[in-house]
Symmetry: C2
Subunit: 469 residues, 2 copies
């Protein structure tokens, strides 16, 4: 937090404790609403919350309320009088009402909906029923739609009169006689245009839109690719049902990335921000994956138990189990991270799988070659420092063979791991799951079992052919 | 790629091979420039590139060129005539010229700069010299700045006349007599205002700006928090030096996230997109971390070599090494992922470290309790299935003790791992490094060594106290 903001926060708290209406109002005229909402989120006492809300300048009420976090919103909704509720609802954009209500308990939703004017209630209910994470769930219903035949001057007149109630006026949507969406006009083109031109004459040559049920991640990719301010959402009859604006998309980008990172780290995604999540809730998000992975890990116990006689012959083999497992897991994690990110950014699609796998195998072979050659030298050096590693090796043949076996196993583990890490995300997409589910921990644990099998396999070959004779 | 785009691509390729000017021009009137640039990126033959560039409608030249990837841009710059270069430069925004030149070889930059008109050359050179990843490096110098005293009608007149050469007209910047930045006006407020009001009367109450040397990640956080279209960049004297627009910020958000994910996966961040990076280059990005981790892994070899006699007493202890190491690593990875993300989103700061660590320790203790209780039961079940795990245990005391030791070690490994994973990113920020550098693989490898020490430590205590008597 900047020094300036910290100063404002202490002024805020001071005005609050002394119930100083004048000072509090002055703050609302100087400090961005979103920062004031952050200060207010830290207030828990209901009477203080009531005080703040009474002081908010009327034109900021809706903005301020929208920026508060879920808990504060819920607390306020509970203590609001009917009149306050009506005022808030009348001043809010429909999509903001929906955003708030989505996370509220059912009884509060019912109470709030009672006060939504009939003509808007339908829109609110409709938005509430759209599936989460679709284009429709983040769209607004306050925008301008004009017939494409009207003149620039006419459109500008209407925008000047009614624009303030719309969430976006930077993009204007055009329809034909059948109310089908036929194009868009940017506000700047409207300003540059001759007042006598029709909207149809100045519309954008590109005509982009999205279906109501499209995934919000795909919508975000479109915004980024085409540098959009706003995007039309249409139903199956190509009729405009809503508009998504760029500020909602920034939130989506952030939310989707946080979700992906959580999944890739083997955590069930948090509902709230990290700082707002309580330890016991966090533990419940962390434990499931760890438990699943412990169950998968049983296989590595079985493998080791099967090979214990072999380990007794050359105990030095045990020393390299950690490094083998770590390297396999780390190599897979690298590929996993890159592939899932590239899939999220739509750099390639499922049908590109063979191309990507082939590339990954080449990368893996090169990486494996570099890393295992290096490791081979490190192991030899370790063995040649007297007393560093305790073994019963008497000459230099054994260290050479053991280092060779480990290096070879490392190479195989890297290639296998990168292959699995590359294949799993594609498999997930194929099965219509989020590729981020095939997280690094998951890949690590699977690859570990395979790496151990490879390790002992290679040893067995050496053993049978008499190298340890 | 959508079916529509695929069809357009084959039309594009057809028009290209048959050198059909009319068809190609028709495509430029129908298909978004960014998609055409993607098609063109796949073309390698210089004469085809020359053909495409001759056909691009003059008003799209700059746009189209900007959207091409580095390699295609470089190829084109090499074959452009002087006249073509002049035309391109005259039509491009200053910050786009800089973006292109930044990645070009020095001789091409020198040649191109010769054709930049004198009055712009200074701006280009200045932008080229700003440090990478700062606010200044992503700003544009084409925007409107008015004296705060002028009238709305006057401002609108100037915008109508000259707005097309500006990169953004959605936010207008105000200065006083000393050319100090004093506020901003949004285009929509300008439209809603009475033509006789002064800009000062309708300016935004919030007045946000950023310093030229601020990190771009911080700038992105500001855009997201305040839902900005554009943000002023000022120098130390509070004079406006440039403006950052929201579309550049979306690119920054994406780029920073990709970088963080790469680092967290233990990969040196790629310069280009995944699909554009060649396998050998990728191997060079993947190998360094793996090698560093193998060197750190030497410690786990030493630990195991030290404890080999103990392992000979109860060989069953070996079986659980993988699961212990995996769980420790995975638990740390979870915390690492969440903390680094929260730091990137500025959910907390370095000074919040004690609070965050305390929370993480509570989370870790709870997670550890759940997971190790569960694991204890799994291990007992494994031991009680005859023949599943080969041991010389004769009664049920040994399995109980071994399972207990492993479960206890698991608990300690989870707590330790989450503590390390939480502390390292903060330490990185403290040392002014990117927290994402303290990646999951790094935490895993450090924690592995500690987990092994804890494991054998616990065993030693049990052993000394006669449990294996």
């Amino acid at each position: 937090m900047s020094r300036w903001l910290e100063k404002k926060e202490s002024e805020f708290n001071h005005a609050l404790t002394s119930r100083d209406v004048k000072k509090m109002r002055a703050l609302f005229n100087k400090v961005p609403t979103v920062d004031l909402a952050e200060f207010a989120d830290k207030v828990e006492d209901p009477s203080s919350l009531t005080f703040i809300f009474k002081v908010v300048p009327s034109e900021l009420t809706a903005d301020f309320f929208t920026e508060l976090n879920d808990d504060t919103q819920e607390a306020l909704l509970k203590i609001f009088s009917d009149a306050q509720l009506v005022e808030l609802i009348n001043k809010s954009y429909t999509d903001d009402i929906v955003d708030v209500l989505e996370d509220m308990p059912a009884n509060l939703v019912t109470r709030a909906l009672k006060f939504v004017p009939k003509e808007r209630r339908e829109a609110v209910n409709k938005l509430l029923n759209y599936k989460e994470d679709t284009a429709a769930s983040i769209m607004t219903t306050e925008y301008f739609q004009f017939h494409s035949d009207i003149k620039v001057s006419e459109a500008m007149k209407i925008i000047r009169e009614k624009g303030k109630s719309k969430e976006t006026i930077y993009t204007i949507f055009l329809r034909d006689d059948k109310r089908t969406l036929v194009g868009t006009v940017d506000l700047d083109d409207l300003i540059f245009a001759d007042p006598n031109q029709t909207l149809d004459e100045i519309k954008n040559k590109e005509f982009l839109f999205t279906q109501a049920d499209t995934d919000q991640e795909e919508v975000a990719a479109k915004f980024k690719k085409y540098d959009l301010h706003a995007l039309a959402v249409v139903n199956k009859e190509q009729k405009l049902v809503g508009v998504i604006t760029f500020d909602d998309i920034m939130d989506v980008m952030e939310q989707e990335t946080s979700e992906d990172i959580a999944l890739q780290s083997g955590v069930v995604p948090l509902k709230d921000e990290y700082v707002e999540t309580k330890p016991w809730r966090m533990a419940l998000k962390c434990a499931p994956w760890l438990i699943v992975l412990i169950v998968i890990g049983v296989f590595s116990e079985l493998v080791l138990s099967q090979f214990q006689e072999k380990l007794a012959i050359v105990p030095a083999l045990i020393f390299f189990i950690p490094v083998l497992m770590d390297t396999g897991g780390n190599a897979g994690g690298q590929t996993c991270g890159l592939i899932i990110r590239a899939l999220a950014l739509k750099e390639f699609e499922v049908k590109d799988f063979p191309k990507v796998v082939w590339k990954e195998i080449k990368t893996a072979a090169l990486t494996g070659l570099i890393v295992s050659s290096f490791a081979f030298c490190v192991f030899l050096i370790e063995f040649s420092i007297p007393g560093l590693i305790k073994t019963d090796f008497t000459d230099f043949t054994r260290p050479l063979i053991v280092s060779g076996i480990v290096a070879l196993a490392l190479f195989c583990a890297i290639v296998l791991s990168k292959f699995v890490a590359c294949a799993l995300p594609f498999l997930a997409v194929r099965l219509k799951k989020d590729p981020a589910l095939t997280s690094q921990p998951f890949v690590t644990t699977i690859v570990d079992v395979c790496s151990l099998l490879i390790y002992f396999g290679i040893f067995t070959i050496f053993y049978v052919t008499g190298f340890f004779g």
